[in-house]
Amino acid sequence: MRLTLRVWRQRSADADGGMSTYEIDGISQDMSFLEMLDTLNEELILKGEDPVAFDHDCREGICGACSLVINGDAHGPERTTTCQLHMRSFKDGDTIDIEPWRAAAFPVIKDLVVDRSAFDRIIQAGGYITAPTGAAPEAHATPVPKPDADFAFEHAECIGCGACVAACPNGAAMLFTSAKVNHLNVLPQGAPERESRVLDMVAQMDDEGFGGCTLTGECATACPKGIPLFSITKMNKEFLRAARRGA
């Protein structure tokens, strides 16, 4: 395959950025999107140019590190992570626009790499349970009803990639935060901190400068793990419950 890539290049956080155009040939349909970028970078290095910086780690769709907006879609045209996107989703001769996640709370560090530590701070505000760790507890000591377990698992699937923020016209982190709140709030282990968790995580989310939800639904469309829009509704309910109780 022969492709034209238009890639966001930005030397540093403070520098101005812009789209640079690259022609690339000999791309196989079976390559992943990141392997295609690796090929581009090899060529750039051989030419003595600065390779394109992009985030990646597991390349298995489970770590949440990869993060590219491809032709205007977070993680590209398929519902999966960028690392699990393959070049067969594109046609020979295509022009592909590659941009970083865009949000005030996710400043660009270099090229396509953004700083997502705002998510870490939301987790630090309450995305955990306070329990002594040690050997794994006996599995049957704390019974969890099957529907609750399924609900928790569905939300625990969030890999913290930030595609929801990138897709949202308001740069809101509602889907991510709701996935984390719901995952723990439904479980007996999360119950003691049920109120403080949602209040603190939402406060941190606001402090980081993320926008609010206007029910546009782009987050849930972009999410590679299929976290549903209803998750946000559920968090709103948890928030109002906690506010009433004045935790």
Binding site: G72, E99, R102, G209, C213, T214, F230
Partner: protein, 231 residues
């Protein structure tokens, strides 16, 4: 000594609501639903115009005597007005603050921009501003009579309404505003259900139905006058 925890610094419930994005959305949803309930009653009341001047004017009189003998003349009406004014102010203030925040949270656009969001979702802000301007014009027209085209007569809404809809601009302003209202409600009612935590139980169809019924009910009046059904 007890350790200082985050809980010690937590503001009171009203402060918490007004400070957080979720709380401000709750204010928007509750004030929106209050206005919506009023609009349903208002729309049904307007339809009385199809049953002649006596019924319409009698209804206007009743609005002032409702709640009697517990309430004095017009107290009930003023109570409704105060609640609605508070709702409009709370709604518009929260909308302004949230919108500013949303725009700031997404400073740079994508080069490869795609139209996202439905029409109704994208027009909440402009639609809301249109509705706000309409409310002002509407009150000056049919409540105070300030901008009314013919001799405005207090407590004679039947003739006042006919006069308004005998001008082209009266019809135009009113119909444009009611279509804007339909779009605003279509997204707004559904959004309010989600904000208040009942998203799963309010299907989008209900929201669309409500928007269509409200818009059709309101627009029936100028159409009735234009076609001569009401004269």
């Amino acid at each position: 000594m007890a350790l200082a925890t985050k809980t010690d610094r937590r503001p009171s419930a009203p402060e918490l609501l007004w400070k957080s994005t979720l709380g401000k959305k709750t204010v928007m949803a509750v004030s929106g639903v209050i206005m919506l309930l009023y609009l349903v009653a208002h729309m049904v009341g307007n339809l009385k115009i199809f049953f002649g001047p006596d019924e319409m004017n009698h209804y206007a009189h009743w609005l002032r005597t409702m709640g009697e003998p517990v309430l004095h003349y017009e107290w009930g009406l003023w109570l409704v007005r105060v609640v609605l004014l508070a709702a409009v102010i709370a709604h518009a203030t929260a909308a302004y603050q949230l919108s500013r925040r949303d725009i700031k949270a997404r400073p740079s656009k994508y080069v490869h921009a795609k139209p996202k969001a439905s029409y109704a979702t994208r027009t909440m802000r402009w639609g809301g501003i249109i509705l706000g301007l309409f409310i002002v014009w509407h009150i000056l027209d049919l409540t105070t009579g300030t901008v009314h085209p013919a001799g405005y007569e207090h407590l004679h809404p039947y003739q006042n309404v006919i006069d308004t809809f005998s001008t082209w601009y009266g019809n135009a302003i009113y119909i444009v505003a009611m279509v804007a209202l339909g779009f605003h409600i279509q997204h707004g009612f559904w959004a309010a259900a989600h904000t208040l935590g009942y998203g799963g139980r309010v299907p989008k169809g209900l929201s669309i139905g409500l928007a269509v019924v409200l818009t059709a009910g309101f627009v029936a009046v100028p159409i009735g006058v234009m076609t001569g059904v009401v004269s």
